[in-house]
């Protein structure tokens, strides 16, 4: 279980009288939790705090009782996906996925990467350069990299905002599969209620750093 206990953060440019944000949250493995809220409410900050890209001022963060705060971003069992810029455009799909592999890239790693791409329906695009892929395909390559990393926590920061309606609908089952088939704990920031309704087990609302269950 992913646990955040009063994980606090103050934006460097916040006014002195503004209280710091304090996030508390519990999310089970094999579930999808959606987080929505107004712009500037702290959604992306929350994702980056969990991923280790920002340092909290106080509080606790753990996964299955393992304290994550001493770990640097790259060593946490966490994958973070953004709305865009998730891939290196000059690399092939499989090379992008292989960036999620720790250690020497051998045949076994390459096969695992190709399998992850196949799981995402991209078996025919293994060698395609990332910039030749559509927006939806690029997001699937990024998800395949998540599978290869065997991350137990997947953070999706508005993953569907840049996609058209059809591609968005096709991506929903893939996110669901991360939880159902691979046992991941998925936290998904989104502005779109359709995303929440389609994939989330639990819907949370974030406002001024306070998380609440959406009615």
């Amino acid at each position: 279980m992913l646990v955040l206990e009063k994980l606090s953060y103050r934006h460097p440019q916040a006014l002195a009288e503004t209280p710091p944000w304090r996030f508390s949250l519990r999310a089970e493995a094999a579930t999808v939790t959606s987080i929505s809220g107004v712009s500037g409410g702290g959604k992306s900050t929350l994702m980056e705090l969990i991923a280790g890209l920002l340092q909290p001022t106080s509080g606790a963060l753990s996964w299955n009782d393992q304290d994550l705060l001493p770990l640097s971003a790259g060593t946490r069992p966490i994958s973070l996906l953004f709305q865009q810029h998730n891939l290196f455009e000059h690399l092939s799909a499989v090379d992008n996925v292989l960036l999620g592999h720790k250690g020497k890239v051998d045949n076994a790693a390459r096969q695992a990467a190709e399998q992850a791409l196949a799981d995402m329906g991209l078996a025919a695009h293994v060698q395609a350069r990332a910039d030749r892929l559509s927006g939806g395909q690029q997001q699937r390559v990024a998800l395949a990299r998540t599978l290869l990393r065997r991350s137990k926590v997947v953070l999706l920061d508005e993953p569907f905002s840049a996609l058209d309606d059809d591609t968005r609908r096709n991506a929903w089952p893939l996110v669901r599969a991360l939880a159902d088939d691979h046992g991941c704990c998925v936290l998904m920031v989104t502005h779109d209620q359709r995303d929440c309704d389609a994939v989330a087990d639990r819907q949370l609302l974030l406002s001024e750093g306070q998380l609440a269950v959406r009615a």
Binding site: L53, L54, A73, F88
Partner: protein
């Protein structure tokens, strides 16, 4: 079926936008072509290359190749280190020096390098104190390479740092969240961000070093290290052999034109969105140590010559120098020439950029089959200086002046002005074109729909978006002109003396103290102008 143009005023509107720039570019091409034809026909039947010409070409290619390699290596390493070391005392100063390096007067920096790396310089004294006889070989290839790296390495570092800082924040977060090593990060994220601009940068640096004049003249030490540019100067000024000078000039022109064509082919149009507020993550201690070492090395190399110029200059009799009428005349001449040049560069670059933007707009010219040829022509005229070095141009003016009525010094003004404008134009366009294209892409449709045109369009749309870049263009062209020692080396007389020419004369007559004082005055003028002019173009908010 052919689509009708979107605007009823087409094509008159498009032509009106493109015409001034096209005429200007054609005028520049015609003027330069006329001078070159004059050059070629001036000594019919007597054109011959001296025996040493090919050795000079070989040496020019060798030093330019090595200078380019070293400058880019310096640039890449320093840009990489600075992109990771974002906060430290003196970072802004270091960045300012890197930015201003290209426009610093060559002779002044050469004097600074002599003070630091010369036989009796600071480094030599340090070696002596340590009991070593080792000295940096400043006169010869070593000195030429050092000076070229000072100017071009710093220029490359500043350009590449901009590219690295433009990497989207998401990409930085991604590599960090993937736990990539510093080497992997460089390979997948940083190298691709700069690799696209390296060929163009390399060709520009190569051309600048290939046609290097003042540095080779002062630090070359012997004819063995002459570039073609210096050989032309020597043929004309020392041996008075115009036929040899013309032959060398034509050889240089052919080689440079080839390189400019190559440069135009390699030009990249990549643009990234600037990242903002990227947090800084801790690096492994070993990597941090390497980055700090590079930053300290870059600071030592770039700042010590400036410090040496200041220390030496303050020891000169500055009061007497400033009160000296020839110095005052030289300052006045240099400032007037630089101001007129800057104004001409501003006008030329605005007209040419507007034409380039108009010719690139598919809505206006997309269906005109001449548009690509016109674009290529105007692009070539803009990079003309890189193909026609100022000394070659000066030689053309020199020969024209001998055939025309009037005194040589009257023609010298025109020659200096044209050479200064052409020298600054490629850099001015590089600064102005990207924001102009961005402005057009963003606001053209809106401006058309509101029927904004002419002066109103310039005032409402272009001026607010381009004013900052125009300030940079003005400062750059002013400073380049202020410190130039190219054409003036051919035309300099007792009546026409610029500050760099006066400085060169003082060095030549071993008036070391006066030279140090003049160098400080020239450096101070350059730094003041480079920092002041852009402020005049900034918007003042209440």
């Amino acid at each position: 079926m052919q689509r009708p143009p979107l605007h009823s005023a087409w094509p008159s509107r498009a032509a009106a936008n493109a015409l001034p720039g096209l005429l200007l570019a054609a005028g520049l091409l015609l003027l330069v072509s006329a001078l070159l034809i004059l050059l070629a026909s001036s000594q019919p039947g007597t054109l011959h290359l001296p025996n040493r010409a090919w050795q000079t070409v070989r040496m020019s290619l060798l030093q330019a190749g090595l200078s380019t390699l070293l400058s880019l290596s310096f640039g890449v390493t320093v840009a990489w280190a600075l992109s990771h070391r974002r906060q430290f005392l003196g970072r802004s100063l270091l960045l300012s020096v890197l930015s201003v390096s290209l426009v610093l007067p060559t002779l002044v920096i050469v004097l600074g390098l002599v003070s630091v790396f010369g036989r009796a310089g600071w480094l030599g004294q340090l070696f002596s104190a340590l009991g070593s006889d080792a000295r940096f070989p400043l006169y010869g290839l070593g000195g030429i390479l050092l000076a070229h790296v000072y100017f071009n390495g710093a220029f490359a570092a500043r350009q590449l740092l901009t590219q690295l800082e433009a990497i989207p924040a998401e990409k930085r977060k991604l590599v960090h969240s993937l736990g990539l090593s510093p080497w992997q990060r460089f390979k997948v994220m940083e190298w691709p961000a700069i690799a696209g601009s390296l060929p163009t940068l390399a060709t520009t640096v190569f051309l600048l070093c290939f046609t290097s004049f003042a540095i080779v003249l002062v630090l070359g030490g012997s004819p063995r290290y002459n570039t073609l540019e210096v050989a032309i100067y020597e043929a004309l000024k020392l041996d008075f052999a115009p036929a040899r000078a013309v032959a060398l000039a034509l050889l240089q022109l052919s080689l440079c034109a080839l390189l400019v064509l190559l440069s135009n082919l390699l030009r990249s149009h990549s643009a990234q969105i600037s990242s903002v507020d990227v947090p800084h993550w801790p690096e492994p201690p070993r990597v941090t140590a390497v980055q700090w070492s590079i930053v300290l090395f870059a600071a030592a190399v770039t700042l010590t010559p400036l410090l040496a110029i200041t220390v030496d200059g303050l020891q000169a009799e500055l009061g007497r120098l400033i009160a000296d009428p020839p110095v005052q005349r030289a300052v006045l001449t240099s400032l007037s020439l630089a101001a007129v040049s800057a104004l001409c560069v501003l006008l030329c670059s605005v007209f040419i950029v507007r034409t380039q933007v108009a010719l690139s707009a598919p809505r206006q010219w997309g269906e005109c089959r001449f548009a690509p040829a016109l674009r290529a022509g105007i692009g070539f005229s803009a990079t003309l200086y890189l193909a026609v070095p100022s000394l070659v141009l000066g030689l053309g003016f020199f020969l024209a002046a001998r055939q025309l009525p009037g005194q040589l010094s009257q023609w010298a003004w025109a020659a200096l002005l044209v050479a200064n404008v052409l020298m600054a134009l490629p850099f001015a366009l590089a600064l102005l074109l990207p924001p102009a294209q961005k402005a057009a892409l963003r606001y053209d449709r809106l401006a058309d729909s509101l029927d904004l045109r002419g002066w109103q369009r310039w005032r409402v749309v272009e001026w607010p978006l381009l004013r900052r870049s125009l300030g940079q263009v003005a400062a750059l062209s002013f400073c380049l002109s202020l410190g130039d020692l190219g054409v003036i080396a051919l035309f300099g007389t007792a009546d026409l003396v610029t500050l760099p020419w006066l400085l060169y004369q003082k060095i030549g007559s071993y008036r070391t103290a006066d030279a140090a004082g003049l160098a400080l005055i020239l450096l101070a003028l350059t730094l003041i102008v480079f920092n002041t002019i852009p402020r005049l173009f900034h918007r003042k908010y209440p």
